[in-house]
Structure formats: C-alpha cells, structure tokens
C-alpha cells in the first residue's frame, strides 16, 4: 500500500488584500496503515493540508505524493478518479445530503463511480452494518444523532474502499457518549494498510495516533536564551507567513513593519524604535507572522521567548502588551 509524502508544501492566498500563508514549507511522511493527527489552533493550516492531500486545492509550492500519484498535478478525469477511489472524506459538519436517505448518502460515491445499482446498494448496506446503523438505512440524516450522522459519513468515506481517509474535526460536534463509537471507528480504519489523516483539536484522539504533527508552535514551547541580532539596512527580522517563537525588542536603529499585499506591493503597518517591541501576537497566539519586519537602517534587536518576555514585563502587563505592541 502507498505512503503519503508531503514536501516543502506552501499555500498562499489573498486574505483581505494581503498575502496569507497558512502552510509554509511543510514536510510530512506518513506510512501505510497509520493514523496521523494534524493538531494546532484554528487557522494553522490543518484543513488546508487536508484539501491539498485530497486534490481539492493546488498548493503554491511543494508536492504531495500518494504512492505513485503526484496529487499536486492532478487535473480533470484523473483528479475526479483520485477523489472517487483514492481518498475518502469525513467532514466536520457531517455534510450528509438531507434529501437522501442514510443508505443513499453512502451510495453517492458509488453512483459517482458508476457502480451498478444493485452492487452499490449491497455495498452501502454492508458498510452501514459495519458502522452499526443497519436499521437506519431508510431514515433521513436529520432523524439521526450527531454521532450516528458521523458514522454514516464514515461509511460514505469507505464506500469505494479508498486507501486513504481524510477526516476534518470528526469529533468536533459530538458529546462524550457519541464520540466513543466514532473514535473507535477512526482507529479501526487505520488498522489495515489504510492511511488515516485526521485534523483535530481533540486531545482524546492523541493516545490512539501513530503520528502527531503539530502545525503550530504554541506559547512558550521552547526555552532558550535571548537571541541578539545585528541587522543591515533592509534585512528582514522575520517574513510574513513564517512561524517563530520570539518577540523582539529594538536596541538601536529602526524596524519597519509592513504587510504584503496580494498584488506584490506592501502597506506600512508601524515602525519600532529603540526601547519598543514588535512581533508579539504570533508567538503568544501560535499564529504565523501576519506582517514582515525589516531594518530601515542598521539596527540591533533582541529576541525573547514569550515566557522570558513576560517575566521582563510582569504578568499583569500582558493585556497592555497586546494592545500597545505592533501587529503580529
């Protein structure tokens, strides 16, 4: 069975006229028969990564390969075929079609693949048995609980017996009673040679995972000494879309903060002078940088981890820190 490899994956798009880069140079290798969790806060690129792996989004740079398939360059019939039989999707909101019965929802991928009706019905019925919903075949999705709907969605994802399942927050709308069956099912999906890639905030899934990919470094993740940097005029401290864990204080010179527009230009955001700090939002909230910082003139800056920085300013000042500092 094929492995999934993602290399140097970068996705850029325009957000409010500015360049957003939820994924920047991501690498991932997942072996057949494994359950991989993609974890991180909202906006860190989990769903974007699933979209790229599912051939629903073309990355700006980098490659996604699934076995012999170059997913990045799929188009037309090959892309449709890959979505039909190469990958199964489980969506956050279940996304069952309200007008179809439970059985018909599971049959949708089989209809798409022109599987004969009787065969499709038999296959869908077997899958409903597998997820424990054989008695609800004729019901509408609205008649089921959230957990049952998600089990139908899992059955639908398995309809074409794909070698890879992509699940986006599959437990997001389930209570602790409903979630058990879904978690068990997700784990079972990865017991053969199938790859299961799950984007989630749900830490209950972590003990079951074969691999966990943290897409964003969080608050105070790494303790290290302050980083002192001397910058020539025009040199970047950090680039928009990049991820780092340092908050910078200007010792000398002048640092300008600019935001890259999607048309290639830049908009000035602010300028930091000696004694001022910048770049606090990204490290504190675990977000990519929302702007670029560069030296206007030869400058010296010191980078602190969030923990060190907070110790310097005192815990009571964290609110004013966010309100007074420059963006990102």
């Amino acid at each position: 069975m094929p492995d999934l490899s993602v290399s140097d994956l970068t996705v850029e798009y325009s957000s409010g006229g500015y360049v957003a880069r939820p994924i920047d140079g991501l690498d991932l290798l997942t072996s057949a028969g494994s359950l991989t969790l993609l974890m991180g806060p909202s906006g860190c690129g989990k769903t974007t990564l699933l979209s790229c792996v599912g051939a629903m989004l073309t990355p700006t740079r980098g490659a996604v390969r699934f076995g012999d398939i170059d997913v990045t360059n799929l188009a037309g019939a090959a892309m449709t075929s890959y979505r039909q039989s190469g990958v199964g999707f489980v969506f956050q909101g279940f996304n069952l079609v309200s007008s179809l019965t439970v059985l018909e929802n599971v049959m949708v991928p089989l209809w798409a693949a022109r599987v004969p009706r009787r065969e499709a019905r038999d296959r869908a019925t077997a899958l409903l048995e597998r997820v424990g919903l054989e008695g609800r075949a004729k019901d509408r999705p609205g008649d089921l609980s959230g957990g049952q709907q998600q089990r139908v969605a899992i059955a639908r994802a398995l309809a074409m017996d794909p070698p890879m399942i992509l699940a986006d927050e599959p437990t997001a709308h389930l209570d602790y009673i409903q979630v058990e069956d879904v978690i068990r099912l997700i784990r079972e999906l990865a017991t053969g040679e199938r790859i299961v890639l799950v984007a989630t905030h749900d830490h209950r899934l972590m003990p079951l995972a074969d691999q966990i990919l943290e897409l964003s470094k969080g608050f105070g993740a790494v303790a290290r000494p302050p980083e002192r940097r001397h910058l020539a005029a025009g040199e970047e401290v950090f680039a928009q879309g990049s991820v780092s864990d340092l908050i910078y204080v200007v010792e000398s010179g002048e640092i300008e903060i600019v935001r890259e527009r999607s048309d290639g230009g830049t908009d000035p955001v602010s300028t930091s002078h000696p004694g001022q700090y910048f770049g606090e939002m990204g490290p504190i909230c675990g977000l990519p940088r929302s702007a670029t910082a560069r030296a206007v003139a030869p400058s010296d800056v010191v980078g602190y981890t969030v923990r060190d920085f907070r110790e310097q300013i005192g815990p009571s000042s964290i609110g004013s820190l966010l309100s007074e500092g420059a963006p990102q």
Binding site: T47, L50, S51, G54, M56, L57, T80, S81, Y82, R83, Q84, S85, G88, F89, F91, Q92, G93, F94, N95, V97, S98, S99, L100, T101, E104, V108, P109, W111, A112, A113, R156, A159, M160, D168, E169, A172, H173
Partner: protein, 348 residues
C-alpha cells in the same frame, strides 16, 4: 446522480409545487393566447366559408368585400353573371351596425338578395326570404320568432346559425340586401361587393376578383395589431415561465452549495451535477406544461370569443417547455459548477 436530483425534488416538493402551479398558469395563458390568436383566424375562415362563395368581385382599389370594401352599383352583378366561369352572381352588402333597443351592442350585418350565394345554412329555422327577416348567430341569444333591433329598426328572427361570429366574437346577422341597403346605404341600390358561384376568368374594367383567402384576410385586417400584441404577450409569458422555474431552481442551487461541494469532493463529475439540475428544471417545466394544457382546455370555453387552441400548440408545448427548462437551469448550473469542493470542509 439523477436519483439525487429526484430526491431533492421530493424533499422540496412544496416549493416546487408552487413553481409548477405558477408556471402551469403561465403555460395555460400562453395556450389561451395562442388559441385566441388562432380563434381570430378560425372565425374569419368559418364566416367566409359559410357564405358558400367561390369568388368576390370588388372595385380595383378595394382590399376586400368586407372592411376594405368600396361601394359599387348592385346592378354590376348582372354584368358579372355574364362573365365566363360564373354560374351565379349577386350583390353583397356588409356593415358593422348597432343592435338592441339602445344600440348598445355591435353586430356584423351581411346581406344578399334571397336565394343568392352568401347566406350560410341555418342550424335552426330558415334563411331570410323577404324584407324584415334576419338569420342571426346563436351568440345574439335570439330564437326564431323573436325580434331584434338593428339601427333602430325591428326585424323578425327566422333562423339561427350556431356560433357565427367575426372580428373577435362579434355576432353575425344575415339580412336581405333590400333591408341592408335601407339601413346602411340610405336605400341606394349599391353593394359592398359581388359574390359569385364559379370564378370569373375576366371582369369589367375597374373591378378585380378577390379570392376567398383575400376575403378572409379582409376580415382579419383590423385584428392584425391585436394578434401581434397577443403574439408578443405569449412570448413574454414564455420568459415569465422560464423566470419562475429558473428562480426556484436557482434558489435551490444556492441552498445546495454544500451538497454540491460534497458531491465534488467525493468525486462526482461536475457534468453529472449539472445534468441533475437541468433534469430538475426540465421535469418541472414538463409537469407545468401538462397542468397548463389541462388548465388551458378547461378555461378556453369561458372566454367570450372563440379560443381555438391548435393541435400543434399541444405538441409544441412540451418541447418549448423543455427548452424553457434548460434555459431556466443555466444560472443554477453555472452556480453549481463554480462551487469550490473545499466548501465541504467548512463547519456547519
């Protein structure tokens, strides 16, 4: 994927039923207007045919024996009767006159000498044989033995012709030439045209032969603009039908964006999604056409004038309805095709 389209029709059946009802009424109106326009032609043809005349002789400058007539001497009929090809010729008079005690109703007055060509066969009673007698359309509501008033003069009804009308439902009355000359030509021995049995191969100078088709067109002449207006209205109604169906299908397509995204994500070819929407729209249009045809047939007799829906209209209706359905689905299909499959990843 047609199953998904069918299930969606069932799922939103109330909304689609309203659309079908609206479109069906529009289709019925279209059929009725077509029947109305055709009815003008049909009643003119029937009226002209009822005279049993092979040709009409009119002055060269006249466009026909009825509305476009230019008076000529009634004695001209004697000259025409002598022309080769003519078996019988008689003077004919036409005028639109006021009927009733108060003159509040118009009728078409046609007149020939008793026994001459130009009087239809009565369905009840007989044709007028002497002055003071008239044969009337059943639309006038008078039975044999009753009296009618034309331009203030009283006539005895001696016969009835079923549904004889012209010029858009105006009742026809047939009188003797003598009475017509007294009523409309102040007693002068003149006529509107000469009606003949047999077709004259030549006519005296200053006259020309008008065919039955020319005569029919002469009756239709004042209805040309109304018929054009009816045609334009009918076309507008097709557009309205397409708009009704299109707006409902489009609204549905907007609501189904997430469904389309899921379909695309699981590998349903975009073409199949489009076909499903077109099929929905065409299905709605065809069902509306069926109900429209039934409504048209039921409503036609309620009109005060002849509404003759031609057979081809019933054959053309489903075809045109299918075209309307396809056109109505264009915006929806465009919307569905533009849906990004990543929409399926968005939360509820």
């Amino acid at each position: 994927m047609l199953t998904a389209a069918l299930r969606d029709l069932q799922w939103r059946r109330r909304r689609f039923a309203v659309a079908v009802l609206g479109a069906a009424l529009v289709f019925a109106m279209t059929l009725l207007l077509t029947g109305l326009s055709n009815g003008f032609v049909e009643e003119a043809t029937r009226t002209q045919q009822a005279f049993g005349v092979d040709a009409w002789v009119v002055p060269s400058g006249a466009s026909g024996p009825f509305l476009g007539a230019t008076p000529l001497a009634a004695s001209t009929a004697t000259d025409i009767a002598a022309e080769p090809g003519v078996q019988m010729a008689s003077p004919f008079a036409y005028a639109r006159v006021a009927a009733g005690d108060d003159g509040g109703r118009d009728v078409n007055l046609f007149a020939v000498p008793p026994g001459g060509p130009g009087v239809p066969d009565p369905d009840e009673g007989r044709a007028p044989e002497r002055a003071g007698e008239v044969l009337v359309s059943s639309k006038l509501g008078a039975d044999p033995g009753e009296q009618v008033v034309l331009l203030g003069r009283t006539f005895e009804v001696v016969g009835v012709v079923d549904g004889s009308t012209a010029l858009g439902g105006v009742a026809n009355v047939f009188a003797t030439l003598e009475d017509a000359q007294a009523l409309i030509f102040s007693g002068q021995p003149i006529a509107s045209a000469i009606a003949t049995r047999g077709v004259p191969t030549s006519v005296p100078a200053g006259l020309r032969v008008a065919t039955p088709t020319d005569a029919r067109d002469d009756l239709l002449r004042p209805l040309r603009q109304p018929r054009l207006a009816v045609t334009v209205l009918a076309m507008l109604l097709w557009v309205i039908a397409a708009t009704i169906i299109g707006s409902v299908v489009y609204m549905t397509a907007i609501e189904r964006v997430r469904d389309f995204a899921v379909f695309k994500a699981v590998g349903v070819p975009t073409r199949d999604i489009g076909i499903g929407l077109v099929a929905q729209s065409v299905f709605l249009a065809l069902v509306a056409a069926l109900f429209g045809a039934i409504a048209g047939l039921l409503l036609a007799p309620l009109f005060p004038m002849l509404v003759e829906i031609p057979g081809f209209a019933f054959l053309a209706l489903p075809v045109l309805a299918a075209v309307v359905g396809v056109l109505a689905s264009v915006l929806s299909v465009r919307r569905a095709l533009s849906v990004d499959p990543t929409v399926a990843f968005r939360g509820p």
